[in-house]
Amino acid sequence: QQQVKQSPQSLIVQKGGISIINCAYENTAFDYFPWYQQFPGKGPALLIAIRPDVSEKKEGRFTISFNKSAKQFSLHIMDSQPGDSATYFCAAHGSSNTGKLIFGQGTTLQVKP
């Protein structure tokens, strides 16, 4: 119940294309769903986040779509650029206020020029 399942494990997209990464969870007590971006040799950095009372959130080329009934959420990267090549993690936060994040397994995105 404490898992977040992420797919695909790796993704190759042409420049200008749309990258889509999917996540699913079981625990309905999760109340915050961030996406983190990690470049090689760096720590993860927050990209965009959503709360379960919202179905979609958009920031620039990045959009989270959230389906509460299906317990799924996804990250869409529009007009993907080579600079977007990184590892992306979805995560979920429980309702305990502790700040504990449960991460998905990660998706390595490569955007080809």
């Binding site: 990690q38 429980g94 700040g99 991460f103 397994q105």
Partner: protein
């Protein structure tokens, strides 16, 4: 000015040794964390401190002992290092409450030989 800084960035040591990793944040956050990233890039929380008090201990072996001398610092001491401890360890911080951005350090790559 680095928000969350960890030292050292790289640590190579022999089995059985004891080592420490230091972390400092200058964001004024009251909650700090240690996460472990394994060779498959999976991120898992180890510990969390709020105002110097331990609030999360994710069944980590007793050989791992975190210490928080003040709100801005969280150190990790590891006794009797084992080969399986090889990983990247990330320190992070956030405001209390959880549904907020966690800022990660650049990581410490620990290699046990």
């Amino acid at each position: 000015d680095t928000a969350v800084s960890q030292t050292p960035k790289y640590l190579v040591t022999q089995m059985g040794n004891d080592k420490s990793i230091k972390c400092e944040q200058n964001l004024g956050h009251d909650t700090m964390y240690w996460y472990k990233q394994d060779s498959k890039k999976f991120l898992k929380i180890m510990f969390s401190y709020n105002n110097k008090e331990l609030i999360i201990n994710e069944t980590v072996p007793n050989r791992f002992s975190p210490k928080s001398p003040d709100k801005a610092h969280l150190n990790l001491h590891i006794n009797s290092l084992e080969l399986g401890d090889s990983a990247v360890y990330f320190c992070a911080s956030s405001r209390w409450g959880g549904r907020t951005e966690a800022f990660f350090g650049q990581g410490t790559r620990l290699t046990v030989v």
